[in-house]
C-alpha cells in the first residue's frame, strides 16, 4: 500500500512500507550502496513524517519480506504475542515513540508489551528517535539472563574477555585471559574467535578455557565463536561446551549464506542444554549480528540494513540467549562509513535489541578503512553505558591482533565502570574481591606475587 506526505508544495509518495522505512533511515553508506536510500535530505524527513503517521497495525499486514518466501518473516508473524501488542495496537509509529518516552511508561510496562513488538515496528520507531531518545528509552528496559552468573541487572556492566590470537597459541591466549582478569573483565563470557574452524583446534581451546575457569573457580562461561555445527560436533565428542555461538542475519537467504536455519539453531541449543553446565541459569546461546550482513550476502530484498538488523532480534529472542551483540563497525565503510554512522547504528541496535527483549551488548568497533578512531569509540561507549548496555568487549589494548580491527579495551571497560559507577555481574564481583583483584568499590588492587592469578601467570 502506498504512503503519501506533503511538504510545502511537494507531494512525496512511497510505494510501500519497506520503501518508507528505507527512505526514513538516517543516512548510511550501505543503504546508498543498495540504492534504496532517500535521494535528498528533505525526502528523508518527508519519509519520517509519513512513517510517523502509519498505524502500528499496518505492520501486521504489510510485510517487508513476504511470509511465503522467508522463514524469519514466518517466525515474526507466527510467534508474535497479539495480546501484548494490544496495549499499543491503537498507536501510530509517531505516537509509539511518545509512548516509549512517556513518564508513565516504565520498565514493567515495556516488559509486558515487548513480546508483541515486531522487529519492523522497533526499527520504524527508532528511525524517528534522536540519540537521546534511543538512550532514554533503552535505559528503561531491563533484560536479565544467566548461566554461571547473572547478567543485565541494573547498575551492572559486563565485559566479554576476547583473548584472540592469530594462531590460537594456547599460551598466547592464556596470557591475554590473565591480563583481562587482572583488569576485572570476563563476566559476560571468555569468548575466543578461533583462527581456524578446524574441529580438533576448537576442541583444544574449549578444553583449555574450561580448565582455566575451573582452576580459578571463576563464575563465568566460556565460548569458542565457531559455526554452530562445529559446536554440535564438539558436544558429541564430549568436550565441555558452555555456550553455543552463531552469527545470525535477518533474512532466510542471508542465514543460508551463513549456513544456518531456525531448525539448526534449535539443534545447537538442545545439544548445549543437554550438558546442563549452567549453575545459576541455563541460557546457552550467544548470537552476533551487525547491520549490512544481508546486503553483503546479496540477500536484503530491498529492505534497509537497520530494519533487517532488527529482524535478527526476532530470531534471537526465540532462543532466550545469554548474550547478543551487534558487531557494529566491523563490516566496513561500505555499510557504515564513518564514526557518526557507527555511533548512530550502535545506539539503534542496542535500543531495538532491548525493546525486543534481548540481553543486548555491543562490540563498539571499527576497521582501519572506516573513517573512525578511538575517540568515536569513547563517545559511543559513554552513550551506550548511559543507555544501560548489557556488555561490551574487552580486547587487550583495543587491538584485536587476529581479526585486525579495534574494539574496546580492558582499560575502556574499567574506565566506564568507574565513571558511571557500574559493577560487574554480582557473582563475578564477589570473585574479584575474594581473589584480591579488586576492592569493594571495584578499584583495582595493585598485584603482588602472592596472588593466585599472579602465581599462575608466572608459571605459565
Amino acid at each position: 500500500m502506498p504512503y503519501k506526505t506533503t511538504v510545502g508544495r511537494t507531494v512525496y509518495r512511497f510505494e510501500d512500507l519497506k520503501t518508507v522505512l528505507a527512505k526514513a533511515t538516517p543516512e548510511r553508506s550501505g543503504d546508498h550502496l543498495a540504492g534504496i536510500a532517500a535521494e535528498s535530505a528533505e525526502e528523508r524527513v518527508a519519509a519520517r513524517m509519513a512513517l510517523a503517521d502509519i498505524p502500528l497495525k499496518a505492520f501486521l499486514e504489510d510485510f517487508v519480506i513476504p511470509y511465503e518466501s522467508d522463514e524469519i518473516t514466518r517466525l515474526i508473524v507466527d510467534r508474535l504475542d497479539y495480546k501484548a501488542f494490544g496495549e499499543v495496537a491503537s498507536l501510530t509509529v509517531g505516537e509509539f515513540r511518545e509512548w516509549l518516552l512517556a513518564d508513565s511508561t516504565d520498565t514493567e510496562t515495556i516488559a509486558r508489551v515487548s513480546p508483541g513488538i515486531m522487529p519492523e515496528m522497533a526499527a520504524a520507531v527508532s528511525k524517528l528517535m534522536r540519540a537521546q531518545d534511543l538512550i532514554a528509552a533503552a535505559k528503561k528496559i531491563e533484560v536479565v539472563s544467566s548461566f554461571r552468573n547473572t547478567i543485565g541487572l541494573p547498575g551492572r556492566l559486563s565485559v566479554r574477555l576476547q583473548p584472540n590470537h592469530p594462531t590460537d597459541d594456547p599460551k598466547g591466549v592464556a596470557a591475554s585471559i590473565l591480563d583481562g582478569l587482572f583488569y576485572g573483565a570476563g563476566d559476560a563470557v571468555i569468548g575466543i574467535n578461533p583462527a581456524s574452524d578446524n574441529i580438533d583446534a576448537v576442541c583444544k581451546i574449549l578444553t583449555m578455557l574450561d580448565s582455566i575457569i575451573s582452576h580459578y573457580e571463576i563464575p563465568t562461561q566460556a565460548c569458542v565463536l565457531t559455526h554452530v555445527t562445529t559446536s554440535i560436533k564438539a558436544i558429541e565428542r564430549g568436550v565441555p561446551v558452555d555456550l553455543v555461538f552463531q552469527s545470525i542475519a535477518g533474512t532466510q537467504k542471508a542465514n543460508e549464506s551463513f549456513g544456518v536455519s531456525i531448525a539448526l539453531l534449535k539443534e545447537g541449543m538442545e545439544a548445549a542444554l543437554s550438558l546442563g553446565r549452567g549453575t545459576v541459569g541455563n541460557d546457552v546461546m550467544y548470537f552476533e549480528t551487525g547491520q549490512g550482513s544481508a546486503l553483503s550476502a546479496n540477500a536484503h530484498h530491498g529492505v534497509d540494513q537497520q530494519t533487517i538488523e532488527a529482524r535478527c532480534y526476532a530470531l534471537a529472542r526465540e532462543f532466550h540467549p545469554l548474550l547478543v551483540n551487534t558487531v557494529v563497525g566491523f563490516i566496513g565503510p561500505e555499510y557504515l562509513y564513518d564514526g557518526k554512522q557507527i555511533i548512530r547504528a550502535g545506539l539503534e541496535d542496542h535500543f531495538c535489541g532491548k525493546l525486543m527483549g534481548l540481553p543486548m551488548g555491543v562490540d563498539i568497533c571499527y576497521t582501519n578503512h572506516a573513517k573512525a578512531d578511538q575517540d568515536d569509540m569513547d563517545v559511543l561507549l559513554t552513550a551506550l553505558a548511559s543507555a544501560g548496555v548489557t556488555y561490551i568487549m574487552g580486547v587487550p589494548g583495543a587491538d584485536d591482533i587476529m581479526l585486525n580491527y579495534q574494539s574496546t579495551s580492558f582499560h575502556d571497560a574499567l574506565n566506564i565502570r568507574r565513571l558511571m559507577g557500574l559493577k560487574p555481574a554480582p557473582e563475578f564481583e564477589e570473585w574479584l574481591i575474594g581473589t584480591g583483584l579488586a576492592d569493594e568499590g571495584m578499584g583495582l588492587i595493585p598485584q603482588t606475587s602472592a596472588n593466585r592469578l599472579m602465581i599462575g601467570a608466572m608459571e605459565l
Binding site: 590470537h165 561500505e334 578503512h369 578512531d373 578511538q374 568507574r418
Partner: protein, 257 residues
C-alpha cells in the same frame, strides 16, 4: 627522570613473551599510560595513511616497466578514494576509458593467440603495500613464468579484486592474477594479497578464486609467495580450474607457510 610516577605498572609483564597482543600495558588511573596511547595512535595513523594514500601511477608504472614488461595504467569506475571506499560495485568495473584502451590492446593481440596469464597490480586498501611489495614480488615471479604467454601488466587505480574479471575477459586471458593492497591491520599496514582466477568473466564469485595473503617481508616473503603463485598458476592452467577444488589438493602438496 622524575622520581614521582602516576603510573601503575603491571607486574605480569613476563606474559608479553607469549603474544603480540597489547597486554600488561600498565595504567594511569583506569586509563592507558601516555606512551601506550601514543603507540596505538601511531599504529592507527599508519594504517589510515596506507588506506588513503593515492597510488603514484606514473612512478609505479616506471618502476614496473624497469622489469622489462609492458605496463598499461587503468582505472576503475570510481572517481576518488572516498567513492572507492563506499562503492565496492564501482571498484569492480573499469572506467569507460580503460575499457576502450584494453579493447584496442585485445584487438592487436589476436595475431599471437590467447594469453596464458595477465597480471594486475591494484592499490586496493593499501597503496603502501603495492609500493613496497609489488616490485620484489614480480622480480621473483616473472622469471618463473618463462614459457607462458604473459599479457601486459595492468596497473589499476581504485581497484577491487573482481576488477580482474573484466580485465582478464577483455584481454582474453586464460587466467588472471591481481596483486592488491590488503585491508591494513595495526601491525601490518603494507600487506599485499594475490588472487588468481581461471577463465575470468564479470560476475565470477569468490569461491572460484585462490588467494595468497599477507605478502610482506614480516609475513610471507615476496620470494616464497612467488613460488607459491607459480605452483597455483601451473596447476590451474593444467587442470583448467581455480578456486576451492584447487586449494584442497594444494594443501596436501604444498607445506603451508
Amino acid at each position: 627522570m622524575n622520581e614521582m610516577s602516576f603510573r601503575t605498572e603491571d607486574p605480569w609483564r613476563p606474559l608479553k613473551r607469549y603474544t603480540n597482543a597489547r597486554i600488561a600495558l600498565g595504567r594511569a588511573g583506569s586509563s592507558l599510560p601516555t606512551k601506550e596511547v601514543l603507540s596505538l595512535s601511531l599504529a592507527h595513523a599508519r594504517a589510515r595513511d596506507a588506506v588513503l594514500r593515492e597510488l603514484d601511477l606514473y612512478g609505479m608504472g616506471r618502476t614496473l616497466s624497469s622489469l622489462g614488461i609492458d605496463v598499461v595504467p587503468v582505472t576503475s569506475a570510481c572517481r576518488d578514494k572516498e567513492e572507492y571506499l563506499q562503492r565496492p560495485d564501482l571498484g569492480r568495473r573499469l572506467s569507460e576509458g580503460s575499457r576502450e584502451t584494453l579493447g584496442v590492446l585485445a584487438g592487436a593481440r589476436t595475431a599471437n593467440g590467447d594469453f596464458d596469464i595477465v597480471l594486475i597490480v591494484a592499490d586496493g586498501l593499501s597503496s603502501l603495500a603495492v609500493e613496497r611489495q609489488a616490485k620484489p614480488f614480480l622480480e621473483a615471479y616473472l622469471p618463473l613464468a618463462a614459457g607462458l604467454k604473459v599479457g601486459p601488466l595492468c596497473l589499476a587505480n581504485y581497484g577491487r579484486v573482481a576488477l580482474s574479471d573484466e580485465i582478464g575477459s577483455i584481454l582474453g586471458s586464460r587466467l588472471v592474477v591481481i596483486l592488491i593492497g590488503e585491508r591494513p591491520g595495526l601491525s601490518s599496514p603494507d600487506s599485499l594479497g594475490a588472487y588468481l582466477t581461471f577463465a575470468p568473466r564479470v560476475g565470477t564469485t569468490d569461491e572460484r578464486r585462490n588467494c595468497i595473503s599477507n605478502i610482506r617481508p614480516e609475513g610471507l616473503s615476496p620470494a616464497k609467495a612467488a613460488v607459491k603463485l607459480d605452483y597455483l598458476v601451473r596447476e590451474s592452467l593444467a587442470r583448467s580450474m581455480s578456486g576451492i577444488s584447487l586449494k584442497d589438493e594444494q594443501r596436501e602438496m604444498l607445506p603451508d607457510r
